[in-house]
Symmetry: C2
DNA sequence: CGTGTTCTTGATGCCTTTCAAAAAGGGTGG
DNA sequence: CCACCCTTTTTGAAAGGCATCAAGAACACG
C-alpha cells in the first residue's frame, strides 16, 4: 500500500504508436481500427499497486486495457474469504463483464503499479454500431478470459496443491513469454504467497510449504520477486498436463 | 448412454411465437431482432441426455440457445478427472466461447434430453455487422456465463463441502424459479451425485455424505429426481451469503 | 534501527479422500 | 411379472492432505 490512497496520473493517448500492440502476442490491426480505438480511448492512467481498478459492486466501471503491470480479478465473501479468479497481464481487457452487466460482480486490483488505457463505458455501444470488428474483438477477449477462469476452476476443483502451484507458475510463465517478459527462463513474479493462496484456494501456510517443496524439487528458484524455471525437462513434463494458451489474440 | 450414438431430430424454427422468450427471465425483443434471429436460426434439434453438444477440441462448434432441458460445460484432464464449470438452463447460450475462440476449450453435455436452437457460427459475424443489438446481447450473455463460472470458482476455492452443496442447490433453485420451473418450492433436479461431485470439486463419497447430512438437517428433500426446499427460513439465511443472479437477461 | 508485513517452520486436528462393499434403482428379456 | 445386470446411491473404516494455531525469522520501509 502507498500512502497516497489513489495514485493516478493522466497521460496522452497515443494508440497509433502503441508499443504494446507490436508484441507477437497480438493480431495486427487495421488503420481504421486503430483510429477508432484512439478516439475511443479517453485517458491513460497510472494506478499504484494494491489499489482497486474496479471495486465489487461498482456501477459505473469503465473499460480498460491493461497497458503495463499486473492485476487480478477477485471475489470476496462477507466474512472476508477471498478468491482470486484470474490474473491480468498487459494487453488484457479489464472491466468488460462489469461494463456489460452494469454492476461489477467482482473486483479488480492492481497487483503491481499499473498503467491502463481508459475507454468510457458509454461508448462501448458506439463500438458495436460503428466498428463491429472491435466489438467482435471485445467479445473474443471476454471469451478468452472466461477460458482462463475455466482453467483455474479446473485447477482448484481437481488438482492437488502441488499441481495447482506448478500449473499456475507455468501458465503465467507462458503468458509472460508471449509479451517478451521472459529473459533466460526468468520473469518478474510479483505475487505474494497470500495472493497465491487466494488464487489457488489453499491456506497460506500450506501454500508456503508446497511452494518450498517445489523449489527444493528444483522446478524453479525465486528471489527478489523474480522467478526462474530451472528444469526445462521437468517443466515440460508437468506442463504437458495443461492446455496451452491461445496463440494470437486481439488487443484494443 | 443410449444405443443410438447421436439422437437428433430436426424441427422447424419458429422464433416469432417462441414460448421461452415470454418468460419473465428475459428482456423483450424488438420485431427487427426477432426477424433477424429467426433468419439466423437454421435448425432446432433434440439431443438425448448424456450426448455431447460440443466436444472438447471441436473446431466447428455451432452456436446454440438451449431451448429446453439442462446441460453443463466441463473440462476433462487426460487422466480422467473432470470439472463441471457451470450448468446451463433454458435460454442460456451454448458455444459462444467455442465459436469465438474457433476451437472449443471445453465440452458441453446434455444433462437431460434437450432441445436447442442452432445458429451457424459463420453467421455470427453477420450479426455483429447487421444487428449490433444482437451482438451486444451475445456479449452480455457471455459475460453472464463468466460470472456464473466465477461464482463457482469462489465456491470451490473457498467454501466447505456443506456450503458448496447448499449454494449450488439454492442458485439452481433461483435460476429455475425465473423460468417458472418451480412449483411449491420444488423443481426437477436431474444431477447425479457424480455430476454434483464433479461440479463441486469433491469426491463422490463425500458428496453423498454431505448431501445426506443436508437432507437430514431439513434443508431439502429429494426423490424421483425432484428437489424440494423444505425450510424457507434456513434457506434464506444460507442464501444471504450468495449473490443473487441478475434479474433480467437477453435471449437469442 | 524500530516496526509492520511477509515468509517459514513445527505441531495438532479434522475435513475430505480413498478403499471396499453392500443396498437400492432402473431397464431388459424371458 | 420376475430374474438378471448395470448404474447409482449408501455406509463403514482408515489414511492423508490440508487447515488451523502459534511463533520465530527474514524483509521492507521510514
Amino acid at each position: 500500500m502507498l500512502s497516497n490512497p489513489v495514485t493516478r496520473q493522466s497521460l496522452h493517448p497515443w494508440c497509433h504508436a502503441c508499443p504494446l500492440r507490436r508484441k507477437r502476442a497480438f493480431h495486427p490491426k487495421t488503420d481504421a481500427e486503430i483510429a477508432f480505438t484512439a478516439e475511443f480511448k479517453t485517458d491513460h492512467r497510472r494506478i499504484a499497486a494494491g489499489q482497486e481498478i474496479i471495486y465489487p459492486g461498482q456501477a459505473d466501471a469503465e473499460l480498460f486495457t491493461l497497458f503495463a503491470g499486473w492485476a487480478f480479478r477477485y471475489k470476496v465473501m462477507q466474512d472476508g474469504r477471498r478468491q482470486i479468479l484470474n490474473f491480468l497481464l498487459p494487453g488484457d481487457l479489464i472491466g468488460l463483464q462489469a461494463s456489460l452487466l452494469a454492476v461489477a460482480q467482482h473486483g479488480v486490483e492492481a497487483l503491481t503499479d499499473v498503467e491502463v488505457c481508459v475507454f468510457p463505458r458509454r461508448k462501448i455501444w458506439d463500438a458495436f454500431v460503428r466498428m463491429p470488428q472491435l466489438a467482435y474483438e471485445m467479445a473474443w477477449l471476454g471469451s478468452r478470459e472466461e477460458n482462463l477462469t475455466d482453467e483455474n476452476l479446473l485447477s482448484v476443483g481437481q488438482r492437488s496443491a502441488t499441481e495447482r502451484i506448478a500449473s499456475l507458475v507455468i501458465s503465467l510463465y507462458r503468458r509472460a513469454e508471449t509479451l517478451d517478459l521472459v529473459t533466460d527462463r526468468s520473469f518478474d513474479f510479483p505475487l505474494s504467497q497470500q495472493q497465491l493462496a487466494d488464487a489457488l484456494g489453499l491456506s497460506l501456510v500450506h501454500t508456503n510449504k508446497t511452494w518450498a517443496k517445489l523449489r527444493r524439487a528444483g522446478l524453479f528458484t525465486f528471489g527478489n520477486g523474480r522467478l526462474t524455471l530451472e528444469n526445462p525437462r521437468l517443466t515440460e513434463r508437468i506442463a504437458a498436463y495443461f492446455e496451452r494458451d491461445l496463440v494470437e489474440r486481439p488487443i484494443l
